[in-house]
């Protein structure tokens, strides 16, 4: 991505532009070093480990094998002696995680878009205060916020007690240890990642366009669909990716709010490195497969962006 910069820097021209172009190479060195150390190296390490043989109770033996991927995709029975069939266990876990992350993203969008719109349409002075308020809860550690959420929604927590006190329900709503609780937790954890990019997009929106649309007899709905949404779309897509991707690998919310009863991608990988199974190659393989999935999502997005820009 960063390598494309020199080609696009042709607009300015002249001597100043040439000097700038010469500097680009050296200036990019820190970026490449960062990407190399914090992205390429760890991912390559993970890729190599996923092809190694697991050592009993954690660790690896340096014998290359496809065993980890075999375990992921093929089911050979409890004792490994049956003819292989497709293994649905891990596909189900992935599907469940994708579903949870998708629902959390949708809730974030439904709440985040109006919130961002509201903030962007305040006078500039109070905008800063609203944005500040959005970030305040995030000064507290994620773990503590997740545990607090559990306290709020448990059977004899304040939410259920007050609903029962005003007579709306007679038995506590079973919220804790459900999928809904997990989605709620993910939504709560990642909401600002949705609000902030959409806010940035809406803030740039020229509201004269809305007035023009109204002058031309466009209804509010048509204005939103035809004028506003195309302009703020990049913000919405960026927000969705920023919420969806971390939700996919989250394991705090599923563990604490979902009762750790079923594996999510995150907890499945966590278990391979922390639990008694100690199957590092399998954990690495699952992480590689997850990363591939995320990459595909991002590439589809990038392609859609390019098409949109070309138009």
């Amino acid at each position: 991505m960063a390598g494309m910069a020199p080609e696009s820097g042709t607009g300015g021209g002249g001597k100043a532009g040439l000097g700038y172009r010469k500097l680009i190479g050296p200036l990019l060195v820190p970026t490449w070093v960062m990407i190399g150390i914090f992205l390429v190296l760890p991912v390559m390490l993970m890729a190599v480990y996923s092809f190694l043989t697991k050592e009993f109770r954690g660790g690896v033996v340096w014998d290359f094998t496809l065993a980890a991927y075999d375990q992921f995709f093929l089911n050979r029975g409890l004792f490994g002696d049956e003819p292989p069939v497709i293994e649905w266990t891990y596909i189900t876990i992935f599907w469940r995680s994708i579903w949870q992350a998708a629902v959390a993203t949708l809730i974030c969008l439904a709440v985040g878009f109006p919130t961002a719109w509201f903030i962007a349409t305040r006078p500039p002075k109070s905008r800063a205060i609203w944005l500040f308020l959005i970030t305040v809860p995030y000064w507290v550690n994620l773990l503590i916020r997740t545990v607090s959420l559990k306290f709020l929604i448990r059977d004899n927590g304040p939410l259920n007690e007050s609903l029962m006190a005003i007579g709306l329900i007679s038995d506590p709503l079973p919220l804790v240890n459900t999928n809904l609780a997990v989605q709620l937790g993910l939504f709560y954890s990642y909401l600002p990642f949705m609000v902030l990019p959409i806010y940035a997009a809406v803030e740039r929106y020229n509201f004269a366009l809305s007035e023009a649309a109204a002058d031309l007899y466009a209804s509010r709905w048509v204005t939103l669909r035809e004028i506003v949404l195309p302009v703020v779309k990049p913000g919405i897509i960026a927000g969705c990716i920023l919420v969806f991707v971390p939700s996919l690998g989250a394991f705090l919310a599923p563990d604490l709010l979902g009762g750790a009863k079923t594996f999510m991608i995150g907890s499945l990988i966590d278990e391979q490195f922390r639990g008694s199974q100690g199957n590092w190659p399998f954990g690495a393989a699952a992480a590689m497969i997850l990363m591939t999935l995320v990459l595909i999502v991002l590439m589809v997005y990038a392609r859609a962006q390019n098409k949109a820009e070309a138009r």
Partner: protein
């Protein structure tokens, strides 16, 4: 929660400076040593203590194997884990003469199968793992593992299970009356099916939360360690700890000297300190288990001595230790656990 870093004597670290007698890094279970006792050790020896915590034997082993060996001086593994760690070469050994209080070890805990002759470990506390039931919710007879694995209607959907493969599979095997390291396919399948069927009645998996869910009422029954249940009772939960007729798990936690300990001498001082009856009793009074040191009785709280959790009824069966399976057998049990949690 799982990785709370308790900077026990941050003050001493700051103030000590050049006069400090060095430091000690302890890798310990959560909620298992009273802060006053740590402070007492620091006051007596001038050694600053840092404690990191873990929530299962397995995660401690995983962390040490993943590169934390050489960072800690002592850890507190359970009986079967001492054997595993010794096999993995993670333990250092000492001579009885290194610990002046070595003679205080209770005779029945001196020559134990998991560390014969006590070359690398000293007893910390011992107790049992079974389960507790909230007596406001269920009033019938609770002394059977069916409370967890085939629960009555009142408890269904309100059960917490320890998030620990060793304990869940051992209790399941005891319930079915099959050996813990079985290689019989029929028995393993039966265990697998029984657990999957039981899981529909469970609300959550959690070890460090096992007490809290009973106190808060999120769970009406929960697999738990006996002393942890006593603490739940002390915090106001109307729970009774069961000694199931099928059997239950007994365990002993041990302080081990880790290989490549950065402060080996301080580690030995700490182990010797913990073998002092008064100090060992302080742990027992805090954690509500039973000490493995002789002469603690005069220092024990009356409530601990007479607690129902520590005094099984006369007709209770003998508990069994968790067994260490060989690699091939362990693969089956790992598969059953993944199956259960998928």
């Amino acid at each position: 929660m799982k990785k709370l870093l308790s900077t026990a004597t941050a003050f001493a670290l700051l103030a000590g400076g050049a006069y400090a007698e060095g430091s000690l890094s302890v890798y310990h279970w959560f909620e298992y040593i009273p802060q006053e006792l740590v402070d007492k050790f620091t006051a007596e020896t001038g050694i600053a203590v840092t404690i990191d915590t873990y929530d299962s034997n397995e995660s401690m082993l995983a962390a040490l194997k993943a590169g934390k060996l050489g960072q800690y001086d002592v850890a507190v593994p359970g009986d079967y884990m001492v054997e595993i760690m010794a096999k993995e070469g993670l333990l250092d050994s000492f001579a009885p003469a290194d610990l002046p209080n070595f003679g205080n070890i209770a005779p029945e805990w001196l020559d134990v199968p998991f560390d014969s002759g006590r070359k690398s470990s000293i007893p910390y506390q011992w107790g049992s793992t079974a389960f507790s039931v909230n007596r406001d919710v269920y009033t019938g007879d609770i002394n059977t593992l069916a409370m967890i694995f085939d629960p009555p209607a009142e408890l269904q959907g309100k059960i917490n299970v320890l998030d620990s493969q060793g304990e869940v599979l051992a209790l399941g095997s005891i319930y079915l009356g099959i050996p813990q390291c079985s290689t019989d396919k029929e028995q393993l399948k039966a265990l697998n099916d029984m657990l999957i069927n039981a899981k529909q009645h469970w609300a959550s998996f959690g070890s460090d939360t096992a007490k809290d869910v009973l106190v808060s009422g999120d769970a009406a029954a929960g697999m738990i360690y006996n002393g942890f249940s006593a603490k739940a009772r002390a915090e106001g939960a109307n729970v009774e700890y069961a000694y199931p007729k099928e059997g239950f798990v007994v365990w002993m936690d041990n302080v081990v000297l880790l290989k490549d300990a950065p402060n080996r001498d301080n580690a030995l001082k700490f182990m010797n300190f913990l073998l002092d009856p008064e100090n060992s009793a302080a742990v027992t009074n805090y954690a509500a288990y039973t000490s493995g040191v002789t002469g603690v009785e005069p220092f024990l709280d009356e409530a601990i001595k007479s607690s129902p959790e520590n005094n099984p009824p006369a007709d209770a069966p003998k508990g069994s230790f968790i067994q260490v399976c060989d690699q091939e057998t362990q693969t089956f049990y790992d598969a059953i656990w993944t199956n259960l949690k998928k």
